[in-house]
Subunit: 315 residues, 2 copies
C-alpha cells in the first residue's frame, strides 16, 4: 500500500540523517518528526533546543553538514565576546544559531507554545515537513553519574563530553508534560511509525516518556519500526554503546531491538548489514537488513527508500 | 588647584569622544561618566543600552572607531539569520554586541541594578573609569513627531534616521526613576562637572530630568561647564541643529549655552574656535574657546587637556 503519513521519532544528529533521507523521498506534508526536547536548557536567559534545531536546520538545508548540527558558515563572535566578559563558554552557540534562540525565547515569554513556535520558524526557513517538539512543557534530562552525581544533560554531554559514568537518568518536569494535540493527531493518522537511529536512552526514551506518547503509538495497528543506532556492537556516533554498558546491557543491535520491543512498542526492526546474523533470531518482530551507516546524502536517501519500500510491502 | 574627581554627563558618540580624551589624561579612578539611558529599549527580549555601551566600548578600546559605536570587527550574522526568519532588522545589533546585551538582560532579570551590571561589565573589559547609567529604572525617551505622532526613540533615530519633524519629547517612566547613590556620591565628590558635547535635548535632558540629578549638580560650588555640540550653527554630528529649529531655537552655540545656564545649571561654557565671537557676549558664564571638533584621538586628548587646564585655573 502507498504510505501517506509517516511519523518518525528522532533525537539529534543520527535521527536527523534519516529524517533528511525521508524528507527527500516523501512528498511535502507527509512526514512528521517528533523530536526530543529533553536536551533543552536555558543559557544566559535563552531557551536552547538542540535536537529540534538540528532537525530544522537539516531539513531546511541551512545545517552545517560537517558537524551535522548548527548553521553552515556560522561564527562564534558573540561567544568570544562573552568570554572577554569572563563568562563560561563551553556551550558553543553560533551567531546565526542565536537568532533561533532569541526568537524562540521571546515567543515563549509571550506565552506561545513551543510547538507553534517551531512550526512558524521552520516554515520561515522553508521546511515542508512537520517538526513537533515531543511536548510543550519544559522537560530536562538529568544524568546521574558515578563521578559527579546528577548533572544537567548539556553539562554531561557537551561540557564533560559524555565521559562520566552514567548510572541513571531522570526526566525533570515530565509529570507536568503531556503529548501535544499535534503529535497525537500525527500518530493517529500515521501509516507507519519509525524510531530513528538515535540514542535509545538519551534521545528516544524522553519522547516515549511524555504522558500519552507511548500509548498513542502502541495502539496504532501499523508498522512501528526502529532503525538500529548500534552497528557491529558500536555506536555509529556518540555514547550509545558506552551508555549501554554502563546501564548493564550488552552493546548490540539485538539488545536495542529487545529494549524497544518490550511492551510491544515496535513490531519491526532494521539491522545493519554487518549484523545480518542477528536479524534472523529475533522473535515477534519483523526484521530487515540495510546499510544504516549514513555517511553521504545518497546513503540517507537510499536508506529512507529501502525502509519506506519495506513498510509499503509490510505484512 | 589639582582636580581629583571629574564627573561628565554624556550621551552617545559626541560625549564618548570627550570621555575618551578625559580618560587618557586623568589618572584611573578620577573620571565618572553619567550616561543617558533614555535611548535604551527592549528588542526581541534583550535590553539594549546604546549610549552606555558606546561609552564602555570607547573607554575599553574595543569600540568600532569608524562608527564611534559598536564593537570593532563585529559581524551581523545573527541579524542576517533573524531576517531569514522574516523578523524586521532595522536595528543593527552586532554579534559581539549581543554578548553585552545577553549578559545585561540576564542580570536585570535576576534583579541586579543596571548600575551594578555596567560596573561589572566595564571592569571585565578593563575600563578604569566609572560608567554610571543615569538611573536604574527604565526610562524611555519618546519623540513626538509631526508626521507619525509619538515614536519610541530608536524608531525615530535609527529606523527613520531622525528625519521626522520633532514637536516634543517625553520621558516615559521618569517619575519612577531616581538618582542612584553612585551618581549622587560622584557628583557630591566632584571637583568639576562637565556636560559633554552631546545632544542637549536627546542625550543630556534625560539625564538632568532624573529626579535628584539637576539639584545635586546645581548645589555643587565647583566649575560646572558644558562643551558646545554646535559649531558655526551646525551640529558636529547628528540632529542637534535640526532639532533646535524644530523646537523653536536658533541653532547656535549661544542658544545651547543659554539653555544650560537657565536655572544656573552651568557656570561655564566652551565655545568652538569658529564661534569665538559668541564667547565674549555671554553674561553670567565663564567662557573659553577651544577646537571642539574631535576628528582624531589627538584632538580628543588635546580638548580634554585644554578643558582640564581651564578648570584647574578656574575663578
Amino acid at each position: 500500500m502507498a504510505l501517506k503519513n509517516i511519523v518518525a521519532l528522532v533525537g539529534g544528529v543520527g535521527g536527523a540523517k534519516l529524517a533528511y533521507g525521508l524528507a527527500q523521498v516523501l512528498p511535502p506534508g507527509q512526514l512528521t518528526l517528533i523530536v526530543n526536547t529533553g536536551d533543552d536548557f536555558s543559557w544566559h536567559g535563552l531557551r536552547i533546543c538542540p535536537d529540534v534545531d538540528t532537525i530544522m536546520y537539516t531539513l531546511s538545508g541551512v545545517v552545517n553538514k560537517a558537524n551535522g548540527w548548527g548553521v553552515a558558515n556560522d561564527t562564534h563572535h558573540m561567544l568570544g565576546m562573552m568570554q572577554q566578559y569572563g563568562a563560561e563558554g563551553w556551550f558553543g552557540v553560533g551567531d546565526k544559531d542565536l537568532a533561533t534562540d532569541l526568537l524562540r525565547t521571546e515567543a515563549l515569554r509571550n506565552g506561545e507554545p513551543l510547538t507553534s513556535i517551531m512550526s512558524r520558524l521552520s516554515k520561515a526557513l522553508g521546511v515542508l515537513q512537520y517538526i513537533l517538539p515531543m511536548c510543550d512543557a519544559p522537560v530536562a534530562t538529568m544524568v546521574d553519574t558515578v563521578e559527579h552525581g546528577e548533572m544537567a544533560f548539556q553539562e554531561y554531554f557537551v561540557r564533560e563530553r559524555w565521559q562520566p559514568t552514567m548510572r541513571g537518568l531522570r526526566l525533570d518536569g515530565i509529570e507536568k508534560a503531556q503529548i501535544s494535540d499535534a503529535a497525537n493527531e500525527a500518530i493517529a493518522a500515521a501509516d507507519a511509525i519509525i524510531i530513528g537511529p538515535s540514542n535509545p536512552w538519551l534521545s528516544i526514551w524522553p519522547i516515549l516518556s511524555v504522558p500519552g506518547m507511548r500509548e498513542a503509538i502502541i495502539k496504532r495497528d501499523v508498522p512501528r519500526i526502529a532503525v538500529t543506532p548500534i552497528v557491529g556492537g558500536q555506536a555509529v556516533k556518540g555514547p550509545t554503546a558506552k551508555l549501554m554498558l554502563e546501564l548493564g546491557y550488552t552493546p548490540s543491535a539485538e539488545a536495542v531491538a529487545q529494549y524497544y520491543s518490550d511492551g510491544s512498542l515496535i513490531n519491526g526492526f532494521v539491522f545493519d548489514e554487518v549484523d545480518r546474523n542477528l536479524a534472523s533470531v529475533n522473535k515477534g518482530l519483523q526484521t530487515n537488513v540495510f546499510n544504516t551507516v549514513m555517511q553521504t546524502d545518497t546513503d540517507k536517501v537510499t536508506l529512507a527508500q529501502q525502509v519506506l519500500h519495506w513498510l509499503e510491502n509490510w505484512g
